[in-house]
């Protein structure tokens, strides 16, 4: 009996240790990006273009580029994802084709991000001749987040009580009227959460834009969807692996990493907040 108690103590401590190590890494990543990154941040850093071969000046074009790419990919993926989720949930809950679609969504979610990059390169950059551009990058990133948007929307739609659909149909509303005026408004917070999480994901992705959108050095802002852009995540990578002034560039990379973290984590925090508030309302 005593023995059992000691085993339990050791076991629980080991599990606590696992949790602790995981949290230690989280703490370390946040600590280093904040403490070493905060020094690089200034108004100029956020608003100026880079100077002197990436060793001075700001990273404004990279911030703008990331915003463009994120907006573009959501613009592309949201309508597709909504349509797909609505079809799967509201119109056709079973059947051979629907199973195929479900399977392909699951598998698409598991494709490595660099493979999306290659697909974008072959199809959007070369075949469709969009070149290395915001357009190519946005489409590639859009395909990457499509499964995330679909599953978030599906979950939100399934959470809408069936009785509301019945009430609407019994009043003589058509299926589409019911979806548009009753189901979608009720599912909106859930869908929004999914979209926001997708934004966080897209903003931080690097591999898919390596050969479809990103450029290391640009002193001007993109002027059309066919322009190459700088992007924060790619900029961090490029600063660390290319260029000639490692120390100065590392300092800038810290600044970029901090901005990216604030962007991504800030966006996730909004999503968590919306979800939490929704839960309280439902309770």
């Amino acid at each position: 009996m005593k023995n059992g108690h000691i085993t339990q103590k050791i076991g629980f401590s080991a599990l606590f240790g696992c949790m602790l190590i995981t949290m230690f890494f989280l703490g370390a990543i946040i600590y280093f990006t904040v403490v070493r990154g905060i020094g690089a941040i200034s108004w100029g850093f956020l608003t100026q273009v880079p100077r002197s071969g990436m060793t001075e000046g700001g990273v404004a074009p990279a911030i703008v580029g990331t915003l463009y790419l994120t907006a573009g990919s959501i613009l592309f993926a949201l309508p597709l994802g909504l349509a797909c989720a609505i079809y799967l949930c509201e119109y056709s809950p079973r059947g051979f084709f629907v199973n195929i679609i479900r399977m392909s969504i699951n598998n698409l979610a598991g494709v490595p991000s660099v493979v999306f990059g290659l697909f974008g390169l072959a199809v959007f950059v070369k075949f469709m001749k969009f070149g290395i551009s915001i357009l190519s990058g946005s489409l590639t990133l859009g395909i990457l987040v499509l499964p995330i948007i679909i599953s978030a929307t599906q979950e939100a739609l399934m959470a809408v009580p069936h009785s509301l659909r019945e009430a609407s149909l019994a009043l003589g509303a058509s299926k589409w009227e019911t979806i548009r005026k009753i189901v979608l408004p009720s599912a909106l917070p859930g869908i929004l959460t999914g979209v926001i999480l997708s934004i966080g994901r897209v903003a931080g992705e690097t591999a898919p834009i390596l050969f479809t959108a990103a450029t290391f050095y640009s002193r001007r802002y993109p002027d059309s969807v066919f322009s190459e852009v700088m992007a924060l995540p790619y900029h961090i990578y490029a600063l660390m692996t290319e260029g000639t002034h490692p120390e100065k560039q590392t300092a800038i990379a810290y600044g970029c990493a901090l901005i990216l973290m604030v962007l991504v984590l800030g966006v996730s925090a909004i999503a968590v907040y919306i979800r939490q508030r929704q839960r309280i309302q439902n309770a």
């Binding site: 598991g110 058509s174 931080g204 660390m240």
Partner: protein, 294 residues
């Protein structure tokens, strides 16, 4: 008139719903179309088991065995990190932590999941690599070990949240039955809960592997990049993903190098595809065993 509109909407939605399938098929077609031409120049056996990767030499050599080995070493190393951390954290969260701890730690794990991979890579380069280098007195800290650690930490939240779902599926009556015969919490955990959630936890591990194999930016930044067959965890390595990412920019379109990188991506795609299918099958069986459907 209204009925025609309803039908039109239905068919439009149905058509758009096929987009995921189209993209997946498109990816497969592109990988085959751009990847297969390499096998006109190099025999598949030589490609996969060739020991030398010198794509830009004259004459070039396209043997990806060093890259495959690198991916395997790094993935294996990452598993050693993410399985104990992920499963351990999940067990702690689900079985030990109180409500207050849970409501703090669960979002923290989600935060870890949402950190971009490039930030992980950056952190590996500027913090972990110098640390490993000093600790072990290496020439460079950018090696398979560092990559494994970073990759493992990255995969931890994936493993943790899926394992936690599996633990949540274990009915409380199992636990109560075990307590009722006088087992303590640890015995209940190891002899009742973990076996019951076993295949759910394996799903988590398989998806963690899949995540680690496919991860690009971190290994590109911290694995060291040397394309030779690794002899130890302290060697710099070049996994398949980082070869693609690092070299595609310089490979002339339509050349052998270009095709060989697509062929690597094809192999990568097939491997992750298989892992994802296995994970799905295992988790389906798991749900059936615990008497849940859907």
């Amino acid at each position: 008139m209204a009925r025609v509109k309803e039908k039109a909407i239905r068919w439009t939605l149905a058509a758009l719903a096929f987009s995921s399938l189209i993209f997946l098929v498109g990816i497969i077609i592109v990988l085959f179309k751009e990847g297969l031409p390499i096998f006109k120049a190099v025999r598949p056996g030589d490609f996969i088991f060739g020991k030398f990767w010198y794509p830009t030499y004259d004459p070039p050599e396209f043997g990806i065995f060093p890259l495959i080995m690198a991916s395997m070493w790094v993935t294996l190393g990452a598993l050693c990190v993410c399985v104990p951390l992920g499963v351990g954290s999940a067990l702690y969260l689900n079985e030990i932590a109180g409500f207050k701890q849970r409501s703090l730690l669960k979002p923290a794990v989600e935060v870890l999941a949402s950190i971009p991979s490039v930030v992980y890579g950056f952190f590996g380069m500027v913090v972990v690599a110098p640390f490993v280098q000093n600790l072990l007195k290496l020439d460079t800290g950018l090696c398979a070990l560092t990559a494994s650690i970073i990759l493992g930490v990255m995969a931890t939240p994936t493993v943790c949240s899926i394992a936690e779902d599996a633990l949540n599926c274990v009915p409380n009556s199992f636990r109560e039955a075990s307590f009722a015969v006088g087992a303590n919490r640890w015995q209940t955990l190891t002899q009742v809960v973990i076996p019951a959630a076993g295949s759910g936890i394996s799903t988590a591990v398989i998806l963690g592997i899949s995540r680690a194999i496919g991860e690009t930016m971190t290994v590109l930044m911290v694995a060291g990049g040397s394309a030779v067959i690794p002899k130890s965890f302290l060697d710099p390595v070049r996994p398949m993903t980082s070869a693609i990412a690092a070299e595609m920019g310089e490979a002339p379109v339509g050349g052998l190098h270009y095709h060989s990188l697509f062929a690597i991506a094809l192999i990568l795609f097939i491997v992750t595809f298989v892992f994802n299918i296995i994970a799905e099958l295992v988790s389906r069986k798991f749900r059936i065993r615990l008497g849940q459907s859907g």
